[in-house]
Amino acid sequence: MTPVIEVTNAVKQFDSVRALDELSLSVIQGQVVAVLGPNGAGKTTLLEVLEGLERLDAGEARVLGYDVGRQTREVKERIGISLQATAFFDRLSVQETAQLFGSFFSRRQDLPSLLQTLGLWELRERRVSGLSGGQRQRVALAMALINDPQVIFLDEPTTGLDPAARREIWSLVEHVRQEGRTVILTTHYMEEAAYLADNVIIMDQGKILAEGSVGQLLRDYTGEQTLILDGEGLDYLTDPPWNFVADNGRLVWHVPNLSDHLDRLLSDIRSRGSVIHHLVVREATLEDVFLRLTGRRLVS
């Protein structure tokens, strides 16, 4: 299958910061891809390069077969975007905003049905300034879909929203995927990536650290389970053979078939005279993948 997005050795430098560092990436049609990473990882820069808002210093980025740097207009005609800081003209209504943005494209969706799909039909006469955060985000999504795009880029679509509004956006993204569009979204919410994404890209310092489906990433980079310990005299567990990861004063161990190792671990701890205050066992998450890859937490 031909990729809809193809990035090859992309480099983007902002003063002393290398936002994209020899990054390569390929996305096939109809997928929801979540780009996950802490602030400053280069997620937004990656999206902005693909949206034609930033130019690469080196390397190449292609969207729908067009070179983004050279055929920016062709790309912009065919993609939908929702930027991180969403703002529209305060004094225009939802419908007027949609009319305005629609006029910028040669191809347009039917406005009433788009507004209905996004639950904005009832709000169409309302000024953008009078909308809640979740409603504004739905307007942003509507503007991203207004030109019936094949690919849409959503930069942190749910940041700052309450859980109910976040769920609403999730179901809309789900709907967009069902229409056969490719969705690339950035987030630092792991549960968002886990819920929405067919594929997750984990980024840090301008590089892709890992890529794959959630299940695959969990299998490859964590055990099926995670053991978290808190106590005294346990620091030696970060050394082989145990290889725990230190995280905020606690020790985290990703291990398949934990029950096979638990007896041996506990007797080792006892034999050294160390003390366990807390012991928690849980299923591994993408946060654990990130911790394993970088030694840091995703959200500090």
């Binding site: 034609g52 808002l53 703002a87 225009l92 007027e96 943005f101 040669s106």
Partner: protein
């Protein structure tokens, strides 16, 4: 074309929905003109005050005769007439003894006129006493002459000042939209920059035409200001003037990161022009050392052009200098505005 027209339509909608913008664009210039026009514009009728010292039949007859003159008031003074004259309470002091009136006036021009009027009254009294028929008669009719009343001067000046302010401040809207990230969002669409800017300019032109109509209509209704020139020939001047000031405003929006900096820069540009570019008084009244400064202010050329068309009916072909000066500003500042134009805030 669809994008351009929709942008103009939405720009105008946003403008007419913003009360503060409406006030500064439309109500303020009109209020300002009415205020200044009322304070300094009304041409006062003739009024003078004559003091009479002395009594007798001549004094009574003179008082009678002077009181028939419109605007003339007469006081009988027993003493202190000179002091009243010096203090400006009266224009002329007439000391009357028997059939002799001794007129005392000051070096003020009003005093000179009033003493002539009093002498004329005495002359008329003599003729009447001699019962001689009048051989020569003169009647007086008043006509209005454009350019002589203050409002004739002020209305085009206020129009120029308003166009300047609207043009300069059109850039601040760009700063607001840029800091909110709206410009960046628009840049993410295929809309060409030229159409976005073109629509912005068109919107301002519509505003400028409404402003011009409003100012001229109010000046006519309130102050009986009647433009002499062909008002359609104002349009090229309005368009070029507004364009010149918009390019300055866009240039400021390009170099200023915040509204505060932009407001300060705009004031630095607009304040000298308000007072030195012939808005409220003629440039010829400025001190000689300031005149070269006035000559480099773009507003000077807009006000003089507008005044020439509106007040004197000068054809546009005689205003080449004003057109060249404004076009020069538009081209230079337009190039700077394009060079410094930014869709987004600089990265920190």
């Amino acid at each position: 074309m669809n994008a351009y027209l929709t942008l103009v339509q939405m720009n105008l909608k946003m403008l007419f929905r913003a009360r503060d913008v409406l006030f500064w664009n439309f109500a303020f210039p009109v209020l300002f003109m009415v205020l200044i026009g009322t304070a300094f514009g009304a041409s006062p009728g003739f009024s003078a005050h004559v003091g009479i010292e002395g009594s007798g039949s001549f004094a009574s007859a003179l008082i009678q005769a002077l009181r028939h003159i419109k605007g003339m008031s007469v006081s009988v003074i027993s003493s202190g007439g000179i002091q009243a004259l010096q203090a400006g309470h009266i224009e002329v002091l007439a000391r009357i003894a028997g059939h002799q009136a001794h007129l005392i006036r000051t070096n003020a021009s009003a005093s000179q006129s009033v003493s002539s009027i009093v002498q004329g009254a005495v002359m008329a009294m003599n003729l009447q006493a001699l019962h001689q028929p009048l051989l020569f008669r003169a009647t007086v009719r008043q006509i209005s002459v454009q350019g002589t009343s203050y409002i004739d001067f002020l209305a085009p000046g206020i129009l120029g000042m308003t166009l300047m302010n609207t043009g300069l401040f059109s850039g601040t809207m760009l700063i607001t939209h840029r800091s909110q990230g709206i410009l960046r969002r628009i840049r993410g669409t295929p809309l060409p920059t030229g159409i976005f800017i073109g629509a912005r300019i068109t919107t301002q032109m519509v505003v400028a035409l409404i402003q011009a109509t409003l100012i001229l209509v109010i000046a006519r209704e309130v102050y009986h200001f009647t433009p002499v020139g062909n008002l359609w020939s104002l349009i090229p001047l309005l368009v070029l003037g507004e364009l010149a000031f918009m390019t300055i405003g866009f240039f400021i929006a390009g170099v200023a990161n915040t509204m505060e900096v932009a407001s300060a820069l705009t004031n630095i540009v607009s304040l000298p022009m308000m007072f030195l570019a012939g808005v409220f008084y003629p440039i010829s009244q400025l001190p000689r050392f300031i005149k070269p400064l006035a000559d480099i202010l773009p507003l000077r050329y807009l006000t003089s052009g507008l005044r020439a068309v509106v007040v004197h009916g000068t054809p546009l072909t005689h205003l080449t200098n004003d057109f060249i000066a404004l076009a020069l500003v538009a081209v230079v500042c337009g190039a700077l505005a394009v060079k410094f134009f930014r869709w987004e805030m600089p990265r920190v």
